[in-house]
Amino acid sequence: MASSKLAERVATAARRQALTLTETAAVRIRNLLQQRQRPFLKLGVKARGCNGLSYTLNYADEKGKFDELIEDKGVKILIDPKALMHVIGTKMDFVDDKLRSEFIFINPNSKGQCGCGESFMTTSSTEAAKAGGSS
């Protein structure tokens, strides 16, 4: 019983660390979700951009069977299972100035990045690319 509780706590700790949000990002996401009246934002990756992968962000209405649910600072984010190994440990921030406002991802797995930070490469993505296909 004690061990299962411990296992649960380890699991939740790991889940919480998969993705963290800065306060600015959390505030922005909270506003977006409230405005559109949607329960979740879903983070994914797709193979494109100049350097392997790029992040995708969409609204989501329900948690898919294999989606990873992250809850941080009162905000719920789903991570697409295909993206999980690429984004684990990422910190999501939001920058807002007059000329642009965007979510940025500080990803410790990233081995190289596009100037705007949208495209990035991880060792798993380069291996996948070599194998001739990327999720």
Binding site: L32, L41, R48, G49, C50, N51, S54, Y55, T56, L57, N58, Y59, K98, L99, R100, S101, E102, F103, C114, G115, C116, E118, S119
Partner: protein, 159 residues
């Protein structure tokens, strides 16, 4: 071997000759049309001979919104920097005063300013303002001088 060097010259030649023609046009006051500039939306102040950058509707709308918060009149400056994943990247800034080597493009009271050197890389392009969930900001869309480029459109290669 010979065919590959020939095609390299074929590729590089037009770029070099275009730059030479461009530079000579800067020096002389007469302009001869060396480029076929794609005419997109009709604008009476631009002719086929001139180099221009256009502003999209969204870009104008966004600039008006930004201007409402500013005390002084601001212009949007587009400049080119070396960098990014594809060679060059675009840089946007808000400024009040133009420099001597700037060209100003105006639409609906909104001014876009580009320095002469950057203009060579963006002539014929359109500045747009795009709003997505993940980001919103100014972008350069449809740049005839660029090939390839980052998907977020902040970096590009020149033909």
């Amino acid at each position: 071997m010979q065919s590959s060097s020939r095609s390299l010259i074929q590729r590089v030649g037009p770029i070099i000759s275009a730059r030479i023609r461009y530079n000579s046009r800067l020096l002389s006051s007469t302009s001869s049309s060396a480029y076929v500039v794609k005419e997109t939306s009709p604008s009476s102040s631009f002719t086929q001979d001139e180099e221009y950058v256009q502003l999209s509707d969204n870009c104008v709308k966004r600039m008006k919104e930004l201007q409402a918060d500013e005390a002084k009149e601001k212009m949007l400056r587009l400049s080119i920097e070396a960098g990014g994943c594809s060679g060059f990247q675009y840089n946007f800034a808000l400024e009040e005063k133009p420099n001597n080597d700037d060209r100003i493009f105006e639409r609906d009271g909104v001014k876009l300013v580009v320095d002469t050197i950057s203009l060579g890389f963006v002539k014929g392009a359109t500045v747009d303002y795009v709003e997505e969930l993940i980001r919103s900001g100014f972008q350069v869309a449809e740049n005839p001088s660029a090939v390839g480029g980052c998907s977020c459109k902040s970096s590009f290669m020149v033909k």
